[in-house]
Each structure stands twice: as structure tokens, then as C-alpha cells.
Symmetry: C4
Subunit: 205 residues, 4 copies
């Protein structure tokens, strides 16, 4: 069976690539004349650390989402409307990530900290749900999948996403209590996925 | 016959992907120091609801246009200048969507409401006309199409776009009377297309 | 012989697609609170006509450049460093088009009119030269080209670009005298290319 | 063996293409009403020369990086997690280039000159290290590479990147002493690479 999803993957790659590259537009340089020497500039940049942290965190989060998207679509060979629109939902949320990132960058230091971290982690809860939806819709009809895929491989991908959900929800809950812990949890989850993704890949392909 | 339209589709996908992702740049975060706590931020975001509505409406409208573009070009195998420029017209209008979206976001609440909704729905009337033009130019010469395509399939695609036109024009007319009804009509049309696209796809391929 | 230029074309398509879509960012909506009703908005937009003109002119200019790029690379099968960098020069100039476009949009009405039209048309002179350079570098070694290409086809493409050069230079010279004539010349050249491109295509392929 | 890295290359091309095209957003046109005639505009643009220099320098630097990325991935046939993330690191740094470029453009003239040149050249030291890491990770397992690649070809690519490192570090050190020399060194390295890349290519393919 020929793979039908080439143009969906190409379009999705485009959206991921643009969303990840637009993040840099939130790194603002100091206003003209507000800086008189190199020291001023370094102090300005040091005070901007939440902006750099948000940039790095969001860049690698979208990158890992792209890796996961890549992995799921390696198993999907046909498409129907349901898959089309679950994928559209993922792309919508991914393209929107720069908004909570900009909020986090500007308001992580200060009284609105809990709210911006909750919006930020909440976005990832939604993205996780959208990935779960995509795989649920694709895997309930084996005719859409790569011929010869094993039930074990289907289940492994399913579990991979399902296990992420409670962790994101815990990160969301922490945002109301100790916001910085939320970000550490998300960072930890990404490192875990980065390290474990090699093994998962081997067993499903 | 080999498909000649690969690079046109690749370029078009690029324009669609960028146009859809640039929409997020119209979600503005509050000015520095205008927000002192999380409550202020939530009130700011609540007041910005037309911005979020316009973002969601335009994102999924471009997404559905891309799905339709995808579907039309699955049937087009050769290209000539006329197709090239009808496609260029579609891309021009799609890339311009962020302008009426930004107008809608800023002026939907207020006295300019009718004008911005008319510009917004008018853009979709034009895009619908451009799609009709593309399919008219492609389908009048069957040598340009997928070998073996049936007349019935050609007609089905033709009708699919033609039926959209009066609905968009009705939405445009409503903008001068009750602007919010226009947006509901457009939203309704998209949901209809999303739900019906599965069936159309099956019968034409 | 296998075509080696796939990834160059893909990358170039990306740059063209982004450059053409970023143009919309120069369409500015009115400042908040500067507009109180729909009439104000229409007057604001009417006064902005050079912005819309510049947007349309630049969009279709980049689009035609992409069509031409597409056509040249259909004939190029191998690549060397010289082709790589001539192509890089084209992409550099294409990505820069939004700057003279923004200048034209803001200063076409007023005393700086000649200067902005000269910069705008001068950019197209440079792009034309870069296209001539690319085809010169590719066509002097027939081993780089599509196997079986005729000398007549090579010459036709060569002439196609060479004839554009004096027209662009005339448009550049007019900018110092009657700037609006320059824009009409450029518009006329594009319409000519759009209409003639079908015939050229047929005879070279 | 089939090449598995197609979608990684496509996504990377997207990020390179967007990063290179977004650079133009840092070319600012003069504020409305700050210019009354063509002469004012030319003076404004003349004073902006560091902006144009930074734009050109960064455009061609990213372009050469893309050429190198292209060349490395022609040799990589399989992928693992380590390659995925080394590539992610390169893309992260490439997408960030517009930030040091904007700093260089605004503060090269003035007392913060050393600091902005150090940040700018420092970014290229990091990118060079990331390319070294990618090739180190890919080449230590010959099963990941193009079947039949010679040890000599592997070493040549390795040396190509390794030799760049000390030059970038020297440029970085000069930024604290005579910042303009740093930029000349980087420019010289790019011209050297542009001229030498033809030969390297021939011997490795």
C-alpha cells in the first residue's frame, strides 16, 4: 500500500518549522538609546532571563512534539477526515505556543506568575490531549496504519502519550502553588522523552 | 502520465503553512507594567475575546482551504500558465487573510463592526471565487487532470465550490445588518465542510 | 542521470514562500482608538492605497520570480558551487524585497517618491542580473543541464532574461523623472511575462 | 539501504529558510513623518549601515551553514536519537541568529561594540561546535552513513569543521580588542569556504 500522508506531513512540518522559528521574535533587544555601554547591555540581558528560559523551553518542546509527530505519521499510511482534523487541532495549538511563551517571558517574575505558568502548562495539557486524540482516531482502524504493524507497537505509542498526561496535569496543578516547580517538571519530562525515544523507536519500527 | 505539479504543491503548502502560522502574531500580550497581578491579566485576556475568536476562525478557515487545495491538486496532473496564475491568486488572498483578521480582532466590538465583518467575509467571497476559477480552468481541459477521472467526480468538485459562493455572499450581506450572524454562518459552513469532506473524498478518489 | 537539485529547489521554495507571505506584515491596521466608526476606517484604508499597491506589486513580482526560478531549475540537473552561490544571491535579494516594498508604501506619496521608486526598481534590476548570472553559470557547462536539452532552448531562456534587463533599467531611469511611470513599466513587464510564459514553456520542455 | 533522513532534512530546510528570511524584519524603515524628502531618506539609510552589514553577514552565514548541513546529511542515511538532538541544537542556534544580528545592527557603533561583537561571534563558535558534535555522533557509527563512504571522506568532513573552530575562537577574542577585525575574519572564513566547497564536494561524493 502506498503512503498517502506525504502532503499532510509536508504541511505539518512547515507549520512546526515556522512556529519554532517565530519564537525568536519574542527576544526583544533594548530600546534605542536605553543602553550606553556594554555593561548596560549585559545587565539588560541578565534581567531578561525569563525570556531566554521561555525561548529555550518552548523551542525544545516544539522540537520534541515534531519528533513525536514524525514518529506517529511513520505508522499512519492512509488518512480520513477525522485524522485530518485531529492533526489540524495539533497544528493550531503548536502555532499558538508563542503566545503563552511571550506571557511566561514577561510575567514569570512577579505577581501574575501562577496565572502565566498555568496558561503555559495548560497549553501542553491540551497538546497532549490532541496527540492522544490523533493516535486514538488512527489506531482504532488498522487499515489506516502501516501494513504489518503489531498490536504491541500500537499499544506502546498509545502508552507513551497516555503516561505524559498525568505528568502535565500535575505540572498544571503545581503552577497554582510553586510555579517554578511546574517548569522543572516539564523540563524533566522532555529530558526523559529525549532519552527514552531511542528505545521506543527501535521497538516499533 | 507523471504528475507535474509537485513543486507547485510544495510552494503552495509553504504559503499556506506560513500564512496560518503568522496569525499568532496578532495575539498581543499586554504592555509591560500595565498588569500588576494575575487577575489583571485574566481581565485583559477576557476583553481580548474578539482577538482569540478571529484567530481561531481564520486558522481553521485557512486550514480548510488547504484541505480543499490539497483535494483539487490531487486531480490536477499537468499545469499551464492559467492554472499557475489562478493558483497565484488563491495564494495572494490566503496570505492577505491576516489583515482582515487583525481588523476584525480590533474593531469587532464597536461602531466599525459592520465594516470589518464585511471586509472579512468579502475576503472569503474572493477566495471562493478564486477556487472556482482554478477548478474551471483545470477542468475545461481533461488532459490536465488525473487520467481516468470521471465526469461525475469533476462535477462534484465543481458543485462543492459553487454551493459555497451564495452562502458567503449571504454572510457578506448580513455583515451590514447583524455582523455576528455573518461569523456564525461562516463557522457553520466550515463545520459542514469538515463533516462532509470525508464523503466527497471517498467518491472522487 | 538523476536530478541532484531537489534539496536546493526545496530550500529555495521555502525562501520564496516566506518572503512572499511576510509582505502582509507591512499592511498596518490603524492604531487603537484612532478610529471611532466604519467611515473612519474606510478613509484610513483609502489613504493607505500606496501600501496596498506596493503589497500587490511585490507579491506578484516574487510570484513570477518563483515561476521563473522553477522553470530554470527544471533544466538544471547537477549543481556546483557557482550555481549554489548564484542561487544564494537570488534568494538574498528576494528575501530583501520587503524592505524596498515598505519604503515604497510609506514614501511613494511625497517628496521622497523618486528615491523610493529608484530603490524599488533598482532591486529588480539586481534580481534580473542575478537570474542572468545563474543561467550563464549553468548553461556554459551543458553537463549540468537536463540531458537532451537543445541549444535553441538554452538560448530562449537566455534571451528571456536578457530582454528584461533593459526594461528594468528604463524603469529605473524613469524613477528620477516620473516615478509612477516606473511602476507602470514594471507592471506591464509582469503582465507580458505572465501571458508569454505559457508559450516559452511549451517550446523548451 | 534506503535513506531515512528525508523528513529531518525537510524540517531542517524549513527552519533554515525561515531563519534566513526573518532577518529582513530587522531592517527598519524610518518612522512616519521623520523624513521629508529623498535626501533625508538617503542620510537615514547611510547611518543605518551597520544594520545592512549585519543583515548581509548573517544571511550568507546561515546560507553557508545550510550548504554545510546539506553536505553532511548527504552522507547520513540512518538516524538515531543522538543525531536527532544534535540536529535540534543546530536548528536552535540557527533560529536564534537573528537576535545577535539585531544587537550587532543597533550597537556596533558605540561603546557596547565589543560586547555585541563577542555575542555575535560567540554564537558562531557555538554553531561550529554543534556541527562538530553532529558529525562526531554520526561518524562514530559507520552503519548510519552512506554505504560505501570512505574513511578519507569522513576525515575530510571532520577536518573541514574542526579547522573552522580555532578561527571562530580567534574572531571571538578579537572582539574584545578590535571588534571590526572579528567581522573581517568571519567574512574571510566564509569566502574561503565558498571557494573551497566545490573541491571538498567533489572529493567526498
Amino acid at each position: 500500500m502506498e503512503k498517502e500522508t506525504g502532503r499532510i506531513e509536508g504541511f505539518s512540518d512547515g507549520v512546526f518549522a515556522i512556529a519554532i522559528t517565530l519564537l525568536v521574535l519574542d527576544l526583544h533587544i533594548p530600546e534605542e538609546n536605553s543602553i550606553t555601554n556594554g555593561n548596560d547591555l549585559l545587565i539588560f540581558m541578565k534581567n531578561q532571563w525569563p525570556t531566554f528560559l521561555a525561548f529555550i523551553l518552548s523551542f525544545f518542546s516544539i522540537f520534541i512534539m515534531w519528533v513525536n509527530h514524525h514518529k506517529i505519521f511513520k505508522q499512519i499510511y492512509s488518512r480520513n477526515s477525522a485524522i485530518m482534523f485531529a492533526n489540524g487541532l495539533i497544528l493550531f495549538l503548536v502555532s499558538a505556543v508563542s503566545y503563552p511563551t511571550a506571557l511566561l517571558a514577561r510575567y514569570f517574575n512577579g505577581e501574575a506568575s501562577s496565572v502565566v505558568v498555568a496558561i503555559y502548562t495548560g497549553t501542553f495539557v491540551l497538546i497532549n490531549l490532541a496527540f492522544n486524540l490523533l493516535w486514538f482516531l488512527a489506531s482504532r482502524d488498522k487499515k489506516l496504519l502501516r501494513p504489518g504493524i503489531t498490536d504491541q507497537a500500537i499499544k506502546k505509542i498509545h502508552n507513551n502519550y497516555l503516561y505524559g498526561l498525568p505528568v502535565y496535569i500535575i505540572a498544571l496543578l503545581f503552577s497554582f502553588w510553586i510555579p517554578s516547580v511546574s517548569l522543572i517538571i516539564i523540563l524533566g519530562l522532555w529530558i526523559f522523552w529525549a532519552l527514552s525515544s531511542g528505545k521506543i523507536e527501535m521497538s516499533t519500527t
